[in-house]
């Protein structure tokens, strides 16, 4: 009887060990995942997938005609906007806003640039056509975009 029960005991121990090891590994992976997730920084949009592509004037018109509908469609999304640089507001090199659209229009697309990418903004001048990728946050006096980066390869 004894001889039969011994191998069963050995099996029990190894299964127990296996379970303990698996639990430790799962807890460690989960812990690492939560730690990384908790410390995750807001993404730089340079490599973000574009969800909507539109001209600055059309984007403004969309919000002017149906703000609620356009908010639903664009807000929170990564939007690629092409337009004429109407105005540049630089606040002591800590905040840079590029307004896209018609210079005489009341509402434009206001792009708050991601200062982590400021090297790319140096050569931007008023009156040129550029493409900007950013997160659309909605509409106030202008269509508002945050964390914007310049897209150079004008694939439109």
């Amino acid at each position: 009887m004894q001889a039969v029960s011994t191998p069963i005991n050995h099996n029990m121990i190894s299964i127990k060990k296996l379970i303990v090891a698996a639990v430790i590994i799962i807890v460690a992976i989960a812990g690492l995942y939560f730690y990384k997730e908790y410390n995750r920084k807001v993404a730089d949009l340079s490599n973000a997938k574009v969800e909507e592509t539109i001209n600055a004037a059309d984007l403004v018109t969309a919000f002017e005609n149906d703000e609620a509908g356009a908010t639903k469609k664009f807000a929170g999304k990564t939007v690629l906007v092409m337009g004429n640089v109407a105005e540049i507001i630089n606040q002591q090199d800590t905040m840079l806003n590029i307004f896209l659209g018609d210079k005489s229009a009341i509402s434009k697309v206001s792009c708050l640039m991601d200062m982590r990418k400021k090297e790319g903004f140096k050569n931007i001048v008023s009156g040129t056509q550029i493409s900007i990728k950013g997160i659309c946050t909605g509409f106030l006096a202008d269509v508002e975009m945050n964390r914007c980066v310049i897209v150079n390869d004008n694939k439109f």
Binding site: R40, K41, A75, T137, G138, L140, A141, N146
Partner: protein, 186 residues
């Protein structure tokens, strides 16, 4: 005749300078802070729209909830999705009156400590608030700063028990408008 036209337009011009203008900004800043022993939470919105009619004293602030930037992405997601429900309530708006606004002159450098009272609407709830504001006039431009605190519960913002210890019951809000620009002169 030409002389009178010139004189008249000069008088008008002088009158324009001393009249109380309507001023505005599109790049005001509103930030908030929550400090607890477990966690500090901070976010900033640099796209605050504000229009202040200096003659009547009416002042308005509006901002987009999605425009608040956090250091940590997860906090920003939870703030928008769980607490502020920014898809449902995309904006926060304050409409109020600056007391003694008429006394503020853009023509001379000076500091003013004034009171603002009005209605703050966010997360679908409107509440009356009063706050002191400091206006600094420098070289014809007005800078405005104010701070106050809000209780999320007042605005029907539910904070789950699991994270209740990590979020202060009172959230400190700081308003800073570096420079109001002249929109129109009355």
């Amino acid at each position: 005749m030409n002389f009178y036209i010139l004189l008249f337009s000069l008088l008008l011009a002088v009158n324009d300078v001393t009249a109380q203008p309507k001023v505005f900004t599109k790049t005001g800043t509103i930030s908030f802070k929550s400090k607890t022993a477990l966690e500090n939470i901070e976010a900033v919105n640099n796209k605050v729209l504000s229009v202040w009619d200096m003659a009547s004293g009416t002042i308005e602030f509006s901002l987009l909830i999605k425009g608040f930037e956090f250091d940590r992405a997860l906090m920003q997601e939870h703030f928008n999705e769980n607490y502020m429900e920014s898809d449902k309530y995309p904006k926060a708006v304050f409409k109020g009156v600056v007391e003694n606004s008429k006394n503020v002159l853009l023509t001379s450098n000076n500091n003013y400590n004034l009171k603002v009272s009005g209605a703050l609407t966010m997360h679908g709830v409107t509440k009356q608030i009063n706050l002191p504001v400091t206006i600094k006039i420098k070289n014809g431009e007005a800078n405005a700063m104010a701070s106050f605190s809000i209780i999320p519960q007042d605005y029907n913002i539910k904070i789950p028990g699991l994270v209740a210890d990590k979020i202060n019951k009172k959230i400190d809000v700081l308003i800073n408008v570096p420079a109001y620009k002249i929109l129109a002169t009355k």
